[in-house]
């Protein structure tokens, strides 16, 4: 078992999402083996790691798009992959996902993109759906762009619209795959502020996959570091603390952009 991982039972605190002894593999190729962690409610949990460490794949497992080779993903006390389909759907209603490229539906306007989850999950009159969609877009700074198509706006705007869509239903948990990749520092900073603000005001839990250092230090309460070499979690905890105290030199190097050599 990789160093740094501890049995999940040790953390007695309640978790909104937890992963137990999860093994991710593509056929014969094992990406990560036996990883476990828990995400506390109302926290910003960051999944770190270099390219190819399986960060995005882990996210796909968490949201149920990919079945684990072994192990389980729990929402509260309920194992997602062991749950019957209708329970799985209920669990899906409790989270929102922002995909790496935004994954906005290109045949719909931004307003329609944000409105679709509302139409699918809660039954509201069109006016209310419209108002809610407008609010979500306004929160990410796109209040004036509801009638635009994804192809007509910039990449950063698409990412923000994707966050608005992920937040459409006020989900308890929001998963974000590389939210700040490809954004300018100011936009990226505002995005971080937005996450923190939503967390503070609505109590949302965020699980963020990223390798943007500035963003990691700004938002993370807790984290895990996925190492492709050992195929396990080599560090966990608040990144501010890990910079100095991580046992694994690779983690310190990662968090200091190589200034502390591994």
């Amino acid at each position: 078992m990789p160093s740094g991982s501890e049995p999940p039972a040790a953390a007695a605190e309640a978790a909104v999402v937890s992963v137990e002894r999860l093994t991710m593999a593509f056929g014969e190729r094992v990406l990560q083996q036996d990883i476990s962690f828990r995400v506390r409610p109302g926290s910003v949990f960051v999944v770190m790691g270099g390219s190819g460490s399986g960060k995005s794949t882990l996210l796909r497992h968490l949201v149920g798009l990919q079945t684990p080779a072994a192990g389980a993903v729990y929402y509260g006390e309920e194992s997602f992959f062991a749950a019957p389909p209708e329970r799985q759907d209920a669990i899906r209603a409790s989270f929102g996902v922002m995909y790496q490229q935004g994954a906005l539906w290109s045949s719909m306007t931004l307003g329609e993109n944000v409105a679709l989850p509302l139409q699918e999950r809660v039954h509201l009159p069109p006016h209310d759906v419209h108002e809610l969609a407008l609010l979500k877009l306004a929160l990410v700074g796109l209040g004036d762009f509801a009638d635009y198509y994804p192809a007509e706006i910039s990449g950063g705007m698409r990412k923000r619209a994707a966050i608005a869509r992920a937040m459409a239903l006020d989900p308890a948990i929001v998963f974000l795959d590389e939210p700040s990749a490809g954004l300018d520092p100011l936009t990226s900073r505002r995005l971080d502020d937005l996450l923190l603000e939503l967390r503070a005001s609505l109590g949302t839990t965020f699980v963020v996959v990223t390798h943007e250092l500035a963003s990691i230090f700004a938002i993370a309460d807790d984290s895990v570091f996925l190492d492709p070499a050992t195929r396990g979690i080599t560090a966990r905890g608040d990144p501010e603390r890990l910079v100095r105290e991580a046992a694994d030199p690779t983690v310190r190097a990662f968090l200091t952009r190589g200034e502390v050599a591994p």
Partner: protein, 385 residues
Amino acid sequence: MSEPGTIAAAAAVRAAGADLQTGPAGAAMLRLSGRWRIADGLPSVQAVLDGLGDRRELRVDGSTLEGWDSGLLAYLHGLERALAARDAKLVDEGLPEGVRRLLALARERSGAGVSAAQPRHPDLLERLGLRAEEAWAGLLDVLDFVGDTALALGALARGRARLRRVDLTLALAEAGVRALPITALISVLVGVILAFIGGVQLTQFGAEVFVANLVAIGMLREMGAMMAAVIMAGRTGAAYAAEIGTMVVNEEVDALSTLGVEPMEFLVLPRVLGLVPMLPLLTVYADLLGILGGAAVGVGLYGIPAPVYLDQSRRFLSLADGTVGLAKAVVFAVVVGLAGCYHGIRCGRSSAAVGVATTRAVVAGIVLIVLTDALMTVMFHAVGL
């Protein structure tokens, strides 16, 4: 929790009724209460606006709120915009801290940054003009594309074009061997249909043996090439548009251009050149199978002995019939290939655009096949072929 909607509605009623108090400065107070949930729906903003009259300030008190989510935010955000439109403002001091912060965020970001240009809605005449301009520009663009292809072909002839042999091989296989089963099925059936409709008429004159002539000439001159080309338009032309269109969406075509590689040479030439030799070959194949299908009907249904049927077919066919069919096949190949590649290259930058490009490629391919066929039929007739 109570019945959905009732609490929200109560808030609206109170706002418009007793709790909308007026002060000396023309202010009013909206008291919000209960639990606000997205799923319960939003009360109408209009009731508050009506109750407010021409006052310029609306204070909101949330001290009796029991719970809130984006539903409350959406309501207040909508109310605030409606107030702003009538030059009034919302004072949110009495609201929970979180609500105020998120409202501020929505407010600040709505106005900040790049302002969106409102989409214009031109009137009928203007739209007509724009369409005409578009059609003209489209025509020029097609000519441009055909010209570019010709230039790329010229470059290839002079040995200056970059054409990967593997792309050409793939295109040849895709337009050739892999199209054999579907072409076989369609051609046999077309032969059968021709024999049927011909037979029904010709038996009335006791001339059923001429079914063989009808099928053979019909397949060689017209149907063989046309059916093979229609299959190619639906199969290969569509694939070209979808492939190249997806490359446009993924910026792969841009990557080629910035590398100095001409997309016309790299993407269009191998595909069109793959079709040009293959469609005539498919046509020969379709002709033979069509005659076979016709023979099955002629022999089986109209009792023409097989040797007689085949002899009849052979004797009445001339070299010209075959040549005409093959010449058409070459033209169809160019038309289908260009239509597929053109719509692929001119694809928009979204997944929906790829679908549009594919549809257009198939429609344009088939329309052009029929159009060029009609033209060539007239031409060949004029020169006595």
